[in-house]
């Protein structure tokens, strides 16, 4: 089936089978392999992308369901420089092997974009849907908490 949607600001179109997940479409058809596939059944959160500004699991969605929508992957969150959130992850050593990191970045970006004043409990609650086997989470939570200031400023500018 032919589908067309906005990916990181550009209009893309591609041909997929009905059964193709959005995650597989992004990686295999569109070359956006920053989106990682861990469990492929909605448990690990590594494949999180933004659909119309909201964090969703791209393995729990068919590519055909993204037809006409706006999708942002981890590639769409930064240009040549690291985004403030990504820089905060580096500063706080919030990753080790890095496999889960795109899912944490997209999830935390969605959270802070919508709730720049999220407290630690809220951040932990939201990130509980993403699994990391390296860090023990403490550094990830610290990185997200430290990045809040960039989102708050961003919001005032708008």
């Amino acid at each position: 089936m032919k589908i067309k949607f906005q990916l990181n600001g550009d209009t893309v179109s591609t041909e997929v089978e009905a059964r193709t997940s959005l995650a597989d479409c992004l990686r295999d058809n569109l070359g956006k392999n920053g989106t990682h596939l861990g469990c492929e059944h909605g448990v690990c959160g590594a494949c999180t992308v933004l659909l119309n500004g909201e964090a969703v699991r791209s393995c729990l969605m068919l590519a055909v369901q993204a037809d006409g929508e706006k999708v942002i992957t981890v590639e769409g969150l930064s240009g040549d420089e690291l985004s403030p959130l990504q820089a905060s992850f580096r500063k706080h050593h919030a990753l080790q092997c890095g496999f889960c990191t795109p899912g944490f970045i997209t999830t935390a970006h969605a959270l802070l974009s919508n709730e720049p004043d999220a407290d630690e409990n809220r951040i932990r609650d939201v990130l509980s849907g993403n699994l990391c086997r390296c860090t023990g989470y403490i550094s990830i939570v610290e990185a997200v908490m430290d990045a809040r200031k960039f989102y708050a400023v961003h919001e005032e500018q708008q």
Partner: protein
């Protein structure tokens, strides 16, 4: 794993969707948020020949609050409910229960109709529907019908929905402002399916005695159930230490929960008694 091959249609009307289901001869399935169906497809526990997507059908994403209660369209998502502050007064029990539904990303896509139609015995929404004696609106090739939640759930992942039927709306009865209530569940990790959970609400008469107690439990049977013996203990008396203990004992005695890799039946039985005790104590202050 990858899902097996299927066709996909996204009809513009309910009528068209029903016709597509009919044409599938029992091998068509509905999809909306897909948060329960997609894992089943990935594991090939579901191998439909046709998926009918409800995404384009208008009117299914509305929350109506009126004197007749709360009516929630099938495609309303958990995040839509959480954001609707009117529901804090109109259905506080629902508002609290859904904070336990899965995780952030799933709350952004999972729908109330999907959860009801999926009918997981440990899921929150089916438990709320049964506890509150909700009515479920259904449309099919034979027309529209309304089913009581208590009759809608027929077993694990089983409902009274026919192969050509679509759940369109859930209707929760009006909520008196003085109503007391509680929702408690226990899961090993936040967002996991509960090992067991309870939902309850009751009203008080002018002598501060319980009227119309509703106590429901999830994760303890092949479907969400009402705890009739515990309700009978509570009705007509005050909510005090003795009656709370008696209700917990009645609940413990009237259930026969299953054992599985997550917990033995005896543990779930004890858990329900504990959760009911804590819920009743919490309800006093509400």
């Amino acid at each position: 794993m990858k899902p097996s091959s299927f066709d996909y249609k996204s009809p513009a009307t309910l009528h068209e969707a029903v016709s597509l289901l009919e044409s599938g001869n029992g091998n068509a399935k509905l999809i909306a948020g897909g948060q329960s169906l997609m894992p089943m497809l990935a594991f090939r526990l579901a191998v439909p020949e046709l998926l009918v997507d409800l995404k384009r059908i208008p009117g299914l994403d509305v929350i109506n609050i009126g004197e007749d209660g709360v009516r929630i369209g099938a495609r309303v998502r958990w995040c839509d409910i959480a954001r609707d502050r009117r529901l804090l007064r109109a259905q506080p029990l629902l508002m609290e229960a859904i904070t336990h539904v899965a995780h952030y990303q799933i709350q952004n896509r999972g729908t109330i109709g999907g959860s009801l139609a999926h009918a997981d015995p440990a899921a929150e929404m089916p438990g709320i529907a049964v506890t509150c004696d909700a009515q479920i609106a259904i449309i099919g090739s034979a027309g529209e019908r309304i089913e009581r939640a208590a009759n809608f759930f027929t077993g694990p992942l089983q409902t009274s929905l026919g192969p050509d039927e679509i759940l369109t709306e859930v209707r929760l009865p009006p909520w008196p402002s003085a109503r007391r209530w509680a929702f408690r569940e226990f899961a090993r990790r936040k967002g996991d399916f509960a090992m067991a959970g309870i939902a309850l609400h009751y009203d008080l008469d002018d002598k501060q005695c319980v009227v119309d107690a509703h106590v429901g439990a999830i994760g303890v049977a092949d479907r969400p159930i009402r705890l009739a013996a515990a309700e009978a203990v509570l009705n007509g008396g005050p909510v005090n230490e003795n009656n709370i203990a008696a209700a917990a004992a009645a609940a413990r005695a009237e259930i026969d929960p299953p054992s599985d890799i997550h917990a033995p039946g005896a543990y779930r039985r004890a858990l329900v008694a504990t959760l009911l005790t804590r819920g009743l104590i919490q309800s006093i202050g509400r």
